[in-house]
């Protein structure tokens, strides 16, 4: 905040900041993505925007690029008011953006792709213009090649050249190095420094701390939609940055000391090969889960969280390893049989995985409750009994809905999550595996879900909570391990660990994956 303030006073000078944001806010249903964000970016600066997933980085830059309209607040660009209604307006003003996931047509050539994005499209001489821009920034690029044949680094160069053709004053780069090799990263940094040297400002979004320390002179740190700090990353250690990123307040960790001896679930040498696009392989996962214990699995999404949940629930076939429930290996059991034995799961994706969107809550109760609640004796559904169970969930977990006949998709994220967690908890699981229990859920519902999980553990069940939200894990879990690139670290007792330690582990693991 202090930095933003000084810049505001600078605005009267001849060389004020290029972009100035004042109290920008944006809310989505159930989540305040950006909360009164104020910051500024100087001319010719490489400015880092740092934060964990879900901190509001993407929403913020989408507002600057005109993809999302802020609910409140104002922006000024180059000294004049700036409120782009669409990306075209932002581009015209001099803002360009390179997305994390490339937006290129693989079946078209480099020239054609670039031509498509130019507002003043002219086929004649485009190849020469591309060569000119590419050479002046030492970006090797052949305009006639098919994009489908290019490597990730080359594709990114296409995106960058495409932006540079518009002579931007501000270039936004969203996680640009996540798909690059170290050599490509070096060459990208060279280009960015040259651009900054020639007067283009760069807003650089990342959660890779070393990179930011190397490249950026300013940094704004976001956490849960708010600006929590700003600094010069060159003068901070990676530990300090990590601490700012994940926060420093001390949670309730360590208040519970109830390690019990009885092992409910023992996973040993679990490996899984995922052939799906963007799938992650799990390799040699080992952990024990005790009765009455909450084991937290931290880590950034896309590191094997969904695969771990699928392997434990029986939805994904594993290639090797054991999963012992009460000493019985269930790894070859179907998901129904595991459920019968008391191993229940609550997947991350609510609609389309944990719940059937168009079906009523009653029908969704049947989805996972058939066996343990005996809702369909001898295959014949007892709808009356099922409806009663649905009503129990709705009442027991304060689900706000018009009734048991409401379609699952008509519920808000928080209410649906309370329903889905309640559905599993009321089945009295021996072991409950929950993936991202409070993702996209409002604060009240999130607190209710966490409370319910703690109660379940206190009643003697073992709970595995897979979550990106470190605050959440520090609050509710007894032990924490980090899942990164499909590998699980050893677990640390929550009371003996610090955010900094885990935050660093998470950031490191992210570097290891890319």
């Amino acid at each position: 905040m202090s930095k933003a303030d000084t810049h505001r006073t600078d605005a009267g000078r001849q060389f004020g900041p290029l972009l100035c944001l004042q109290e920008l806010s944006k809310a989505y249903p159930g989540v305040q993505a950006c909360d009164q964000i104020s910051m500024s970016i100087d001319h010719s600066a490489i400015h880092a925007l740092l934060g964990e997933n879900g901190a509001g980085k993407s929403t913020l830059v989408k507002m600057i690029y005109g993809l999302v309209r802020p609910d409140s607040g104002s922006m000024s660009f180059n000294g004049s008011a700036f409120a782009p209604a669409q990306p075209r307006t932002a581009r015209a003003a001099g803002v360009a953006m390179v997305f994390q996931h490339f937006s290129l047509f693989e079946a078209l050539t480099v020239s054609e792709n670039i031509l498509l994005s130019l507002d003043d499209a002219q086929m004649a001489g485009i190849a020469e213009r591309i060569r000119g821009v590419a050479e002046s920034y030492h970006l090797l690029l052949e305009p006639g090649r098919m994009v489908g044949d290019l490597s990730a680094g080359e594709r990114q160069r296409v995106e960058i050249v495409r932006c540079l053709m518009q002579n931007p004053k501000l270039l936004i780069m969203d996680e640009p190095t996540s798909v690059l090799t170290p050599q490509e990263v070096d060459s990208l940094f060279g280009t960015l420094r040259r651009l900054a040297g020639e007067g283009t400002s760069i807003l650089y979004i990342s959660h890779k701390l070393e990179e930011i320390r190397e490249l950026c002179a300013d940094a704004t740190i976001l956490r849960q939609g708010k600006v929590v700090d700003s600094c010069d990353p060159r003068e901070c250690s990676a530990e300090q940055l990590a601490e700012m990123m994940v926060g420093t307040s001390i949670g309730r960790a360590g208040s519970k000391q109830k390690m019990r001896d009885r092992i409910l679930l023992r996973v040993a040498g679990l490996s899984l090969e995922n052939s799906a696009p963007f799938g992650v392989n799990l390799s040699d996962i080992n952990f024990d889960l005790h009765a009455g214990e909450i084991l937290g699995i931290a880590g950034i999404a896309g590191n094997g969280q969904d695969e771990l949940q699928g392997a434990l629930s029986g939805e994904l076939p594993v290639s090797s390893g054991q999963c012992q429930l009460h000493g019985e290996d269930v790894i070859t059991h179907s998901s129904s049989r595991r459920r019968k034995l008391g191993l229940l799961t609550a997947p991350e994706q609510r609609l389309g995985h944990a719940a059937s969107p168009d079906m009523s809550l009653t029908e969704n109760t049947l989805l996972s409750g058939t066996l343990r609640m005996k809702l369909a004796p001898r295959g014949i559904v007892d709808w009356k009994h099922t409806r009663r169970f649905a009503t129990d969930i709705i009442e027991g977990f304060d689900v706000r809905t018009s009734g048991t006949q409401a379609a699952a998709r008509s519920l808000s994220g928080g209410n649906l999550q309370k329903f889905l967690i309640g559905r599993e908890i009321l089945q009295k699981p021996e072991v409950l595996v929950v993936n991202q229990p409070t993702w996209g859920v409002d604060a009240n519902a999130a607190a209710a879900v966490r409370r319910a999980l703690i109660q379940l553990a206190d009643a003697g069940s073992g709970i595995l909570v897979i979550s990106q939200d470190l605050d959440e894990l520090l609050e509710i879990s007894d032990r924490i391990a980090v899942l990164s690139a499909g590998r699980l670290s050893r677990s640390l007792p929550t009371s003996e660990t610090s955010r900094t330690e885990i935050g660093l582990l998470m950031a490191e693991s992210q570097d290891a994956t890319s």
């Binding site: 309209r69 937006s103 939805e315 459920r339 994706q349 989805l367 058939t370 559904v381």
Partner: protein
């Protein structure tokens, strides 16, 4: 400007009224079609939709025919509805219908001139088996080799036509038929003949069995866990897998049910109303049943109503052919229009029509998903 706005919840009212809207639109569209053909549109519509039911001079023929034509349509559509609910697209019920007729007929003809009350039931069981086996080809190819069941089942229709022709010009050709490419008439042997049970009503065993199947299917859909699993798969395989549904098993069973019922309809048709096998035996019931299934909302009761309506267009179409000299293709256009308008009207189940431009920034949130996510 007209605009479609997603509903929070599918409208049950629209689910019921969409087929009616489609029928009204078809009648209007059909009227225009006849106008272009130079016929009086009102008279044409009356001949197709009214005369078969209420014209005193015709009803003694048309009313029984309505049941005779509706029964196979409903029977096949009931089978199809399981697969369609689960998202398994068996387009080849026509082929399973033909193979059921062939298998059942072959058993019956092989036993001729034997007599016995058990012969017709045996033929029906063989018919079921014939259709079932034919449907297992796309089912097993899909499960083991991930082929597309739409293509495989559709292509097998044309294979079945060829087999039918080969059979009626070869092993199954009638020895007393002057070398015509057709089988012996089932009417020749009372043990093989699926005859009219009550004279003048058109009611044969197929209609009785169809009635029982409607009740059974309704029960399975509504009360049995299998019906629930089928519906879950229709929502998404991911949900179904989470619920513990054995997806490949459901695929095989759904295709098997369709094949079995189509095969049963085939042998009932061959041994009853058709009376014999010939290359002209298939009249497209297997394809029309697809329209019946969707028009009936994949619901057993709806399918009965839709089957009767389709039977009406068949009979009305025949009347229009000889009373108005309308082209035979006109009725297929009619049936096609019905499905087309139904699909269009179905949009209203999940969306409502709004007039005017979007007011508030709900569109902003959509742009996020349309743009690049990070």
């Amino acid at each position: 400007m007209l605009r479609l706005e997603p509903r929070a919840q599918p409208s049950t009212l629209m689910q019921a009224t969409a087929p009616l809207l489609a029928i009204v639109a078809t009648i209007i569209g059909g009227g225009i079609l006849f106008l272009i053909l130079g016929k009086n549109p009102f008279e044409s519509i009356r001949i197709i939709f009214w005369d078969p039911l209420f014209n005193e001079a015709l009803v003694s023929y048309t009313r029984p025919q309505l049941l005779v034509k509706a029964a196979p349509l409903v029977m096949i559509a009931l089978g199809l509805s399981f697969g369609f609910r689960a998202g398994i697209w068996n387009i080849g019920a026509e082929g399973q219908f033909v193979m059921g007729a062939l298998a059942g007929s072959a058993v019956g003809l092989a036993l001729h001139p034997m007599q016995g009350i058990w012969i017709l039931p045996l033929m029906l069981v063989s018919g079921i088996a014939g259709g079932f086996v034919w449907a297992m080809i796309p089912a097993l190819l899909r499960v083991y080799f991930r082929t597309n069941e739409i293509l495989v089942s559709l292509m097998l229709v044309y294979v079945s036509y060829k087999i039918l022709t080969a059979m009626v010009t070869g092993p199954l050709r009638s020895p007393i038929g002057y070398n015509f490419p057709e089988s012996r008439s089932f009417h020749d042997n009372p043990s093989m003949h699926n005859s009219e049970l009550i004279a003048g009503t058109g009611i044969h065993w197929g209609i009785v069995i169809t009635g029982l199947l409607v009740i059974l299917c309704y029960y399975v859909m509504r009360r049995h866990l299998f019906g629930y699993h089928v519906n879950l798969m229709g929502q998404s395989n991911k949900v179904a897998r989470f619920a513990g549904v054995r997806i490949n098993l459901v695929i095989v069973v759904c295709l098997g049910i369709t094949g079995a019922l189509a095969g049963l309809a085939g042998i009932l048709e061959a041994s009853g109303p058709a009376g014999k096998l010939s290359p002209h035996f298939p009249v497209g019931y297997g394809f029309t049943a697809i329209i019946v299934a969707f028009l009936g909302r994949l619901h057993p009761i709806g399918i009965v109503l839709a089957g009767l309506l389709m039977a009406l267009t068949y009979i009305g179409g025949e009347l229009a052919q000889f009373m108005l000299d309308a082209p035979a293709a006109a009725i297929q256009v009619f049936q096609g229009m019905l499905l087309f308008f139904l699909v269009a009207a179905d949009v209203l189940v999940n969306y409502r029509v709004r007039i005017g431009t979007p007011g508030r920034p709900t569109s902003g949130a959509r742009e996020v998903t349309a743009g690049s996510s990070s």
